[in-house]
């Protein structure tokens, strides 16, 4: 890594995902950025809103359309030290979805005897406003 990165700047990165998976590959290529970004020792959080909430729908299987089923990769987020995944409640509700429809994402908490804890936090639009406004670098997919 370059010299500047040794300088210890730590920023809050927020990956904002607003698009459905499969119809376009913004979701897939966005996830690739987040995983690469995890190696940079920054504060990382994911936000899912609008059609982005469909990215976390359980039971996705792309075999019949012959594309890569990257949805399995979301389960790796915890291993990449991403510990905050925010999903906007209003976006779920407008689409007739609830938290039960989402993949059960977890991480192992090293500060709590490696207990498995849920990664997903369903938040209101007001809370999402705050999460967005308190981040330093916003990447949109």
């Amino acid at each position: 890594m370059s010299e500047e990165l040794q300088s210890g700047i730590v920023k809050k990165f927020l990956y904002i995902n607003r698009r459905a998976p499969h119809g376009t590959n913004y979701a897939q290529e966005g996830l690739e950025v987040a995983l690469i970004g995890a190696a940079f020792d920054q504060d990382v959080a994911m936000a899912y809103l609008d059609d982005g909430v469909f990215q976390l729908k359980s039971g996705q299987d792309t075999k019949a359309i012959g594309t890569k089923n990257f949805s399995a990769t979301y389960r790796a987020l915890g291993d990449y030290d991403v510990k905050l995944v925010y999903v906007e409640r209003e976006s779920l509700e407008r689409r007739g979805l609830s938290e039960d429809d989402l993949m059960p994402l977890v991480y192992e908490d090293e500060d709590d005897d490696w207990e498995e804890k849920p990664l997903i936090h369903v938040v209101s639009a007001g809370e999402m406003q705050k999460i967005i406004s308190e981040s330093d670098v916003l990447l949109n997919f």
């Binding site: 698009r19 459905a20 998976p21 499969h22 119809g23 376009t24 609008d50 059609d51 469909f54 729908k57 359980s58 039971g59 996705q60 299987d61 792309t62 075999k63 019949a64 359309i65 594309t67 949805s71 407008r94 689409r95 007739g96």
Partner: protein, 100 residues
């Protein structure tokens, strides 16, 4: 006439325009991200309900499966078809309009 909609009704206005500009007796097929329009309790369900009165509404099963939408989440009256069925619909109807 076969109308094909490939966009999520939550993101873009394609389904809305298709409903406004398709005639009674025509068939509407939801593909790609358009399949989200078939969710029975989503905000687009009213639009589809209107269509079902005098139009046939189909949805592409391959695209539902990719997105993890089980058939019990689809509005009743909407027919799930596969690519072979898509081709048959295109043969049955003298023209195909894609609402991109």
């Amino acid at each position: 006439m076969l109308h094909v909609v490939n966009k999520s009704p939550f993101e873009k206005n394609c389904l809305e325009s298709c409903v406004r500009l398709s005639q009674a007796g025509s068939c509407i097929l939801l593909i790609e991200d358009g399949v989200y329009g078939a969710l029975f309790n989503g905000e687009a369900s009213e639009e589809i309900q209107t269509c079902l009165k005098d139009r046939k509404v189909c949805v592409l099963g391959e695209d539902l499966q990719a997105r993890g939408i089980e058939s019990d989440r689809i509005m009743s009256g909407v027919e799930v078809i596969d690519y072979a069925g898509f081709v048959r619909l295109a043969v049955e109807h003298p023209k195909v309009q894609s609402w991109l």
